[in-house]
Symmetry: C2
Subunit: 288 residues, 2 copies
């Protein structure tokens, strides 16, 4: 009998951990106990389960990908994300308005009015964010969402994740569209060794120097170099690449990824010089 009860206890602890991971909270597992395990002899074990569960009572920081085009959401995010968002009541976001719209589009069951948003952008002061993970410390789950694509990739969300690790809060990344990886896959360039360099410097001569350095590293180390620019400067960057790089260097241009007019093409600089292409204000990834 004791062995049986210990077994039930072990299964319950495992079950509680699973529930916490899936975002279902305390009330449901209390019901489970009352319905399936109510028995006077079980009472001390029931208390032990509550104690063990409360020992690991922190919430989870979920890293929630955002869309990167107006493609249907079924095309770019898994069902898990759709089911998860209504269970989360705290979101750390770059812009509240766009995330509200995105959450409603993901799942109509999201109750925006009962959701708390914390802004993380260039206007946020470091001291502001110190309490952003308080909800997770109190056992509630938090979502971190960026403006487009994967959070913490090409955006400064990693300060929140680093804080979560320091506080012992579990961090769970979710699957979603990532423009630089989709560009890399479809480029035909080396995907076994690559670097993402973020935004290219705006001013000369640093801009030209950076492009030359990336070309040298790509050639010397066989390391594909991924980079981008603010969309309204894309045409200028395309011109700079044609003027700066060697005619033999292969350049991949990946435009409007996941949208209907997605365009991904790899050609030599010499071939690109013969092409007309308007990249202005379109999301674009460059790879050499």
């Amino acid at each position: 009998m004791v062995v049986h009860q210990i077994l039930v206890l072990a299964v319950e602890v495992r079950f509680l951990q699973g529930q916490r991971k899936s975002g279902i909270q305390e009330p449901l597992f209390l019901c489970y106990h009352v319905i399936f395990c109510w028995d006077a002899t079980f009472f001390p074990y029931f208390c032990m389960v509550i104690i063990i569960a409360s020992m690991d009572s922190k919430g989870i920081l979920y890293l929630i990908p955002n869309k990167i085009s107006e493609a249907p959401l079924d095309d770019v995010v898994p069902q898990r994300l759709v089911a998860l968002v209504p269970t989360i009541k705290h979101y750390i976001v770059e812009d509240v308005r766009t995330v509200r719209r995105y959450l409603r589009q993901l799942n109509r069951e999201v109750d925006i009015d009962s959701t708390t948003f914390y802004e993380l952008n260039k206007h946020t002061i470091d001291t502001d964010i110190s309490n952003y993970l308080d909800a997770a410390e109190n056992g509630e789950n938090i979502g971190l969402i960026s403006e487009a694509g994967l959070p913490c990739v090409a955006d400064p969300g990693n300060v929140i994740v680093a804080m979560a690790h320091r506080k012992g809060i579990k961090v769970v990344p979710l699957v979603g569209p990532c423009s630089m990886m989709m560009a890399l896959m479809a480029s035909g360039l080396n995907g076994q060794n690559f670097a993402f360099n973020g935004y290219i410097p705006i001013d000369q001569p640093e801009r030209t120097r950076k492009l030359r350095d990336l070309e040298a590293r790509s050639r010397k180390e066989g390391q594909s170099q991924i980079f981008m620019d603010t969309p309204y400067r894309n045409n200028r960057l395309f011109d700079d690449l044609k003027a700066t790089l060697s005619p033999q260097t292969m350049l991949c241009i990946a435009l409007n990824i996941t949208s209907d007019d997605e365009f991904i093409c790899t050609k030599s600089i010499a071939e690109w010089k013969r092409e007309k292409l308007d990249l202005n204000k379109k999301p674009c990834i460059f790879i050499i």
Copy 2:
């Protein structure tokens, strides 16, 4: 009337291109024509549509992500992938057996017996692959699938994609799990500048030299360095990292990503030295 017919023609060409993208093939659009546009005066336009459609009659090379754990597929791939796979009759794969099982798991409507598989692995000779894209040249879609995660990332599938670009075959990357990006997001380390270095050299002294080089680059350029080893050598790599790197260097260990026992944690080398952790034979990403 002529304007009206030209408009219908334009809509149809757009419609055909959309159908091709979504993998629905000729029979459906022929029905569409007969039902909606059958009229003697439309006949020359109908012929023009067929000619225009056949001008762009190449198939698409879809880059299809594979799972990276035994998690339910709904957790890690979007619905688009599930709907797409039964429409594709040609797959380029590393191992036919595992891909067959994966396709059946994705969608029971996949008819394995009418599907052709082309193997691309270390036993494939370069001359073998020259005809791998023939089906796409003849207007049929092809899927490229790797053993785990995104095709062409940390595997040599990019030779096929490069061939597709040379032949003018459209390449469409799809969304799925990518262990190194999920590890990076959840590491709290710099996601605005990072490099993936693939597998660490096995033999000394290159192994130690490589680890020192990666640490120097991570520190000097602020560029997160992602790398991995064959799973049965993970514990040796963990020991080598503790022995080689500076005590202050932050190391992220990301284990069993997307599975129930996912573990992602970032600590200093000094802190890791006080921990016991068994990484043997588990898929693991390291980031410094």
